[in-house]
């Protein structure tokens, strides 16, 4: 586990230049508090795998995302943090078009898959195509009511892989990647619902890893788990981060600090700040960010 120290900056360091800067497109409340300013986006120095460009999103009439930008580095971990309800999950779920399942949702802007420059939120793209390339792990472990084996194999079966040998091989290797193999190898054909919460979540990770997706999305994958299970899953990230492109939502800043390469901070549906994680926590450039990471709200 990385030992990223987290010296929190002193509180009440006023940044008048920022906080007073008049900004367009701001809520009334925010203006009164003088807290909003144009987003601060420090562009990553690393190769990108995807790039969110001016993405807006609506649940019916409610606009949950406002022209969000976000670079996603290749083979690295990008963390999204922000107060509850700020739109982290909403943004994450745009990546695999999960919102398409619900009527009345609407995207505007792009999420470019790079290098081919394909806009995956375009209506022209079949969401199933997108989901076959981008996997997702959810907040609550959600194993299917089937055997452990079938859970891991399900993503492969969807992709038309049915040869026993290929399945066996891939099931084992993904369970190993998810550090679950030793615990379940003797009960592969028992129901997955018999596993503990932490095991179930690792099973879901194995299930997502099995077809080798290009990007993996994690929505607060440890928030329903106890500290020990959390630690196990955080360890996993260190093994995965060099091979997979990962976007993770977390409400735990320390977790973001521990496992991510880049961190983005959202507030009320807007992207406020994006920086390399090391800089983000030491030197946030935005007053809101600072207030958030020092616990003044959220």
């Amino acid at each position: 586990m990385s030992e990223l120290a987290l010296p929190t900056p002193p509180i009440e360091k006023h940044r008048p230049s920022l906080s007073r800067a008049p900004a367009s497109n701001i809520d009334e409340d925010e203006k009164e508090q003088g807290l909003t300013a144009p987003p601060v986006l420090v562009h990553p120095k690393r190769e990108l795998r995807a790039d969110v460009r001016k993405l807006s999103f609506w649940y019916g009439d409610f606009q949950a995302l406002h022209a969000v930008n976000l670079p996603v580095v290749n083979n690295g971990v990008t963390a999204l943090i922000g107060a509850s309800g700020c739109g982290k999950s909403t943004l994450l779920r745009c990546f695999n078009r999960m919102h398409d399942l619900y009527p009345g949702t609407r995207y505007d802007g792009d999420i470019m898959l790079l290098p081919e420059e394909k806009n995956i939120v375009s209506v022209k793209i079949d969401p199933i195509m997108v989901r076959l390339r981008i996997g997702m792990v959810f907040q609550k472990p959600n194993p299917f009511p089937k055997s452990i084996y079938e859970n891991v194999a399900s993503g492969l079966r969807v992709r038309g892989i049915t040869q026993r040998a290929a399945l066996d091989e891939r099931v084992e290797s993904s369970l190993r990647q998810a550090a679950l193999w030793d615990e379940v190898k003797d009960r592969l054909h028992q129901s997955a619902l018999g596993l503990s919460g932490g095991q179930q979540q690792r099973l879901c990770i194995a299930r997502t890893l099995a077809p080798n997706p290009e990007i993996i999305l994690f929505d607060e994958p440890t928030s329903a788990l106890d500290p020990i299970a959390t630690a196990k899953i955080e360890d996993l990230f260190h093994d995965l981060r060099s091979d997979y492109t990962i976007v993770i939502v977390t409400h735990n800043m320390q977790q973001a600090a521990r496992i991510s390469d880049y961190t983005a901070f959202m507030h009320l549906g807007r992207m406020v700040e994006f920086q390399a994680t090391d800089d983000f926590f030491v030197n946030p450039s935005h007053l809101r960010t600072e207030q958030y990471i020092t616990g003044r709200f959220g």
């Binding site: 420090v42 562009h43 990553p44 120095k45 190769e47 990108l48 795998r49 790039d51 670079p71 290749n74 470019m112 790079l114 290098p115 081919e116 420059e117 079949d126 199933i128 195509m129 076959l132 390339r133 969807v158 992709r159 038309g160 290009e214």
Partner: protein, 322 residues
Amino acid sequence: MTTQIQTELTPMQAAAPENEQERDRIIARKSRRSDWFFAAGGLIVLFLSMGLLLALLFDLGFSGASRIDFEFLTSFPSRRAEDAGILSAWVGTTLVMIVTAILSVPLGVMAGIYLEEYAPKNWVTTLIDINISNLAGVPSIIYGLLALGLFVYMFDMGSTVLVAGMVLALLILPVVIVSTREAVRSIPQITKEGAYGIGADKWQTVAHYILPAARPGILTGAIVGLSRAVGETAPVITIGALTYIAFLPNSPLQSEFPFLNFDWLNSAFTVMPIQMFNWLSRPQTDFHINAAATGLVLIIMTLLMNLIAIVIRYRLRRQNVA
């Protein structure tokens, strides 16, 4: 700080191999197609079953609507189909429903609240629970046998409005109980804890916080139950309702003190489904038209009741969301 990174990007290990993309495309297309076929199939089944209701309504409408007029609603049955009406039938149905509602709703609500809020989790409760779910599935004609053996003969009450009301009340009791339980269960635990939190005891919580909040749900259940009772035929036949009744029971209201009159409870009666059954089993087409007209009245009545229930539930749901 790099700008325009994307364009400068060196070709990467990233993109999926061509063949994999091709495979994905095929899978996506197949998925789309099978989804489309299933959705189409589902829609067809949906329209088939909905269409059936419509066909039924239309058929009844075509055959019966022309027969329904003021005369039809205010005449007694007659040997001549064209003179026959359903006055005694709908009055009978109304009286029976009054008895049914008065008996089943309070009992059902009390039982439902007891089971949901009071009953300790033990084998007695489990037994009552299984028992009620079983009662909900007991064929209605068995209730008819219960009433025949118990009320008509053992208690010697005869086949009266009261007995019919009682048997139908027993029949819909499970419906009222189950919907009460659901209504009570759907009240957020946090509201109940709020009530206990201010120091209310169980009865205060139930009477002042649970019942008012559960009222729409209970009402819905009661109406649905009554709409079922309106259409029930078998148990009423079993207790021996008459087929030819050309008079009305005494009015429940009277001019002298005490203004209420309970003779009607002991009156012979007929109800709409029985009148319909009677006309249906006659061979003459004219009577079939009467049957269709009765069916139409019956179906409109039950659909209206259900509609009311649905509207209540809909408004309830909106209220909960707000």
